[in-house]
Symmetry: C2
Subunit: 364 residues, 2 copies
Amino acid sequence: MTQDRVFNFSAGPSVLPEEVLLKASNEMLSYGNSGMSVMEMSHRSKDFLSIIESAESHMRSLMKIPDNYKVLFLQGGASLQFSMIPMNLFIKHKKADFIDTGAWSTKAIKEAKIYGEANVLATSKEQVYSYIPKLDSSSFSNDVDYFHITVNNTIYGTRYTPENIPNTGSIPLVADMSSNILSEAYDINKFSLIYAGAQKNIGPAGLTVVIIKDDLIGKAMDSTPTILDYKTHVDNDSLYNTPPCYSIYICKLVLEWILGQGGVKGIEQINKYKSNLLYSYLDESNLFKGTVVKEDRSLMNIPFITGNDELDALFIKEATSKGFVNLKGHRSVGGMRASIYNAMPVDGVQKLIALMKEFEVNHK
Amino acid sequence: MTQDRVFNFSAGPSVLPEEVLLKASNEMLSYGNSGMSVMEMSHRSKDFLSIIESAESHMRSLMKIPDNYKVLFLQGGASLQFSMIPMNLFIKHKKADFIDTGAWSTKAIKEAKIYGEANVLATSKEQVYSYIPKLDSSSFSNDVDYFHITVNNTIYGTRYTPENIPNTGSIPLVADMSSNILSEAYDINKFSLIYAGAQKNIGPAGLTVVIIKDDLIGKAMDSTPTILDYKTHVDNDSLYNTPPCYSIYICKLVLEWILGQGGVKGIEQINKYKSNLLYSYLDESNLFKGTVVKEDRSLMNIPFITGNDELDALFIKEATSKGFVNLKGHRSVGGMRASIYNAMPVDGVQKLIALMKEFEVNHK
Ligand SMILES: Cc1ncc(COP(=O)(O)O)c(C=O)c1O
Ligand SMILES: Cc1ncc(COP(=O)(O)O)c(C=O)c1O
Ligand SMILES: [Mg+2]
Ligand SMILES: [Mg+2]
Ligand SMILES: [Mg+2]
Ligand SMILES: [Mg+2]
């Protein structure tokens, strides 16, 4: 890490690989032989087309995306997907099943209700979303257009493991992967639509990636604006209007960095190693403890508490002064949260644990 | 200009001030004392809040935006505004008047029709959009919710001058200023809503600026998704969801650069000087000529032709090889187009003219 950089545990936007930032900085005034910044490039130029095509092909190879899925680079954040999904997928029943694992699921539910019915099959709300509800597939509806889950809950630090993805049979499974896309291997064939705001594991805010199965495309409600119909973006290779070009370029660089880490399998090992270090310490510590049940723990977002609000505040203050920043938990949970996305170096986690140990010694 | 940079006449995304790119490059790994890139900052962090607040206050002072207007930083491009505007403004009549000055007006009309009636009051289509229709205000409808114009047509190179903005009385005037915002002084009080994709005069693609009068806020149709209701963004100071943070940061730098040029009045003088150089040459040249009637000429986008397709192609090829790039006209018009936005240096225009003169001598 360069001298003056901090360890940034922000939940999003969040840490990016330093190599990516260095490359972006070096190429800022002229990309390749283009004589201009990527920010200045026409989205129809050869140079930019090659950037967006590389981004897509890296995404396909990293996530093993089959040919019958499209990869789209959109704007509007994951939040716009909360609306685009029902607009495009409420094809027959105008109804969907949801599992509520926290604030993000709740928002997806709220927006779907504008266009039809949102059936909440299960929720972990009564336990402050500290676990993923166990599902009995016999409770799944038959008369729904899709089934929606939030694969990793950024705020509460829960996740559906790859083994634990609900089997919805012929009902399309729709998944918000904003905060754990590209962090470990999921079988794409289990999903019909995956979406993710870029600002955690993909790149800068302002880009949303959507991976959508062919058979869901072209069936949007009549009243859907052209720009909110997935088919528009499929037919135009994500260039219907000016895309967020620079964010797509940074995405390409991030994906190349992941390839250099051994792909998703490689980064998964590192992520498991990093999160394990922190969870093991939380389990053995007498001061700090995690808030999520073991089997549903996120690899990316790790909330923890001392059980004493003043001590929490003191820890956050001390950590901040030492260059470990954005450790404050979400306002709805309190305590601390360490978001350790792909780009957080192992070193950052090790040093955080050392700091926590020191704090524990001083405060017992 | 740094040695290896080209003169980039792209219509958008387009040239940015070199000083802005240099600053962005230098601050890429650590912004101020933050120890992180702006791309890595939480949108709720102090550092980022100060960036977005500066961007807004610069925009307000540069454009002299009165207090009863809100300034919003959104995603989705100007194209998403084509839908958000009717969703939010079709309050009573579900009908709007439009002046059709080309492809962008046409798209705005098409999307408005999804939600109500779009009445085309006048069009210059029969003359390939080479002029702005003269308007008789007695033809304006009384039973419309708004009146829409495209202030500067990027493709055809026409513009409503500040003196020529239609007086719509009590009917809200809505204006697409994507390609000439901040290029010369317009009286904001004449408008109720101004929108602009950032990728010409504001910053990178992926950011849309909306300036909206208070009395239009909070009246969206019931079926409007939360994220497409202007009120949502007003109530959350453009932080309802993660905004395109890095684009907002570049916007702030661009606005500071404009302030350094003497503000909008200063840049207007330079723009008039630059466009005058090129128009004067086009008028005196025996080979090249402009395509737009004199009184409606854009300061930003200058289409021109030789009248011979082969010569046009040859000129574009020679220019490109000499580092004058993106001079090809839009596919719907042919010929050439020089987009000379705020950030195009005077030098670039002078050298382009020198090149055209040389070409003229060699091809007469
Ligand atoms: C799981 C999840 N879904 C959705 C969102 C909303 O994303 P955006 O801010 O891009 O709309 C977030 C943002 O942090 C998130 O963590
Ligand atoms: C005048 C005008 N309006 C709208 C648009 C569409 O903007 P966006 O691509 O950001 O949707 C453009 C794009 O060039 C434009 O020039
Ligand atoms: Mg949540
Ligand atoms: Mg413990
Ligand atoms: Mg047009
Ligand atoms: Mg002439």
